[in-house]
């Protein structure tokens, strides 16, 4: 007994001396981590500062009108960001509205109903789809999907509806470059990513919990609704917010299929633009007040993304129990 204690004591002494000898290594490690964190914060502050300084002339000139006006007049140097802001929020919201139920459905299917032999290959394919660069989705959207929508959805709708009625105006618009096509392309882009996150989360539910629910006589729908989703709520909110963040910032895929006009869209199939697509189209030749307006729009997008992340944090914290 004493021999064991003596051995342990000598081990501890050796360890203690090791810690004392290596303490400069420890403080170096700590300093490196601290400087990395500080560097990130400084970088973030620097980006925000640069955007604020660059966009200030536009905010100063147009004031609050910058957020609500959709004029974009290069001749007279009057700019307003309402069209792109609305386009960004609308495409992201519609794409999330389409992608979220589908992602949950696919994940539930893969976990609950799919035969084991098929589940793994399908999951691998979904992970591969999540890795495809977004510009490929944009190209597919432009060459394949947009003409399909134009020929099989828009043309029948415009010929069937009265052009002066409410629905006629809502579904009127332009083919090949409109809000609807851009939103669907975005939805298809964020769907694989959200599906694989949800699937991983649902697989992490302990089988004891699931089997206990089945044992109590729950149907699969009740198991999913009352047991699995509440169990993985926080992760699902996080996955949704990541998908939404990707949809908000997507540039090239959207620029191909959104029509690139600055006005407020008047209907589901009207051409519009997002903040990212406007900056991508016009940054190269912008100067003076136009450049300041584009940078100001970049700052607005930055703040929108911040707000989405803050919302995610709030939802996660409220669900902490």
């Amino acid at each position: 007994m004493t021999a064991v204690v003596a051995e342990t004591a000598s081990d501890m002494q050796v360890q203690a001396s090791r810690i004392v000898r290596g303490s400069w290594g420890e403080s170096l490690f700590r300093a490196a981590c601290l400087s990395a964190a500080t560097f990130l914060l400084v970088l973030l502050a620097g980006v925000m500062g640069a955007l604020l300084v660059g966009g200030w002339p536009a905010f100063h000139q147009f004031g609050f009108g910058f957020f609500v006006s959709s004029t974009w007049d290069t001749n007279n140097d009057v700019y307003g960001a309402a069209g792109p802001i609305f386009g960004t929020l609308a495409t992201a919201a519609i794409s999330l509205f389409i992608a979220l139920p589908l992602a949950i459905g696919v994940a539930v299917f893969l976990v609950e109903f799919c035969p084991k032999v098929l589940a793994q290959p399908i999951s691998t394919v979904i992970d591969l789809l999540a890795g495809i660069p977004s510009i490929v989705y944009g190209m597919w959207g432009f060459f394949v999907f947009a003409p399909l929508v134009a020929n099989y959805i828009q043309t029948p709708l415009t010929s069937a509806l009265n052009p002066d009625g409410f629905w006629g105006k809502f579904f009127a618009g332009v083919p090949n470059g409109n809000l609807f096509v851009a939103s669907v392309v975005l939805a298809i882009m964020i769907l694989p990513y959200m599906t694989s996150v949800f699937r991983e989360l649902m697989l992490s539910v302990p089988s004891a919990v699931r089997e206990a629910a089945y044992g109590l006589g729950c149907t699969p729908f009740e198991v999913v609704r009352s047991v699995m989703i509440p169990f993985v709520q926080r992760g699902m909110i996080g996955g949704t917010m990541l998908g939404l963040g990707r949809a908000l910032g997507e540039t090239m895929a959207v620029t191909f299929v959104i029509g690139n006009t600055h006005n407020f869209p008047k209907g589901l199939f009207d051409a519009t633009s997002t903040i990212a697509s406007t900056i991508a189209n016009e940054f190269a030749e912008a100067s003076g007040l136009k450049l300041a307006s584009l940078i100001a729009m970049g700052l607005i997008l930055f703040l929108i993304t911040f707000a989405v992340l803050a919302l995610a944090r709030m939802l996660l914290n409220s669900n902490k129990s």
Partner: protein, 357 residues
Amino acid sequence: MLGVCSQLMEDFMFKRFACALSATIMAASAAHAGDVSGTGATFPEPIYKDWAATYKAKSGSSVNYVGIGSGGGIKAIKAKTVDFGASDKPLTAADLNASDLYMFPTVIGGVAPIVNIPGVASGQLHLTGPLLADIYMGAVKTWNDPRIVALNKGVKLPNLPITVVHRSDGSGTTFLFTTYLALVSDVWKSKVGGNDSPPWPAGVGGKGNPGVSALVKQTTGSIGYVEYFFAKQNHETVAQMQNASHHFLMPTAASFAAAASGAKWTTTPGNAVLLLNQPGVNAWPISGATFILVYKNQPDAAKGADILKFFDWAYKNGDAAAAAKDYVPLPAGVKAMVRRQWATQIKSGGKPVYVSK
């Protein structure tokens, strides 16, 4: 055994690294010999790239040109990020003097209206300037509108909505097109005006000449405008336009040359000549020269000489290539005038950088 393997791997990796490093150094040093960079209009991009490739084969110096739109070219040369800028939109003499830039033309081309109407072939559709302005204003909404039908008796026009396609980026092609529309339509002049990035009343935007071309090709019932080479290369359906002498014609190199024949090169300050709506039975109404912008005072005499050497070579040897792409080379008198201007206006430290032989 493992030690030997790892040693061999290290030798191999080191050799690869050394090879890569020396290749990069050689490439970097090769890159310095007389290289010139330029950016700007997509209008002349096909011919500039063609000339650059031939010039590199002949002389070894590379000229890197990237088409990003005339607006981008003007901004880039003003920011001194490139050696020369290219623009279809001529800068005014006042602007040139304020920025200490010099502008000279290289080739002449034309902007063609392209359509995508089922059953209508290239050259079948007839349009006038005012009608084109009305279409682009959104006032004419379908292809079987009486105004279009009146000009096109014998062409079967369907009841298809017109989708207007324009440029989403700042463009000299747009400047030429909208300035022409402002010349022929007072409504267009007051509501929109001629600009490289105007407030379009209707339609969707495509990026660059290739973007507009692709959108028109994809969209049934659409109309767009592109530099003529893109229309020809992508086999677009081109519409005939009515010129200032009330004659309908197709865009061809001969029609661009006819438009340029009356231009007053020697008397226009800053070489800012516009070739829109020129009189003449065979003149294409939307023609334009495309310009190069360089600084009058070149900081590096050798670089300034390299830029002018390339364009002098293009003046001497590039005519056939330009004609093959349906651009019109400049008349010999204009080339001589430009060479004289190079000798007197482009200087470095007070001395001209290049005098053409």
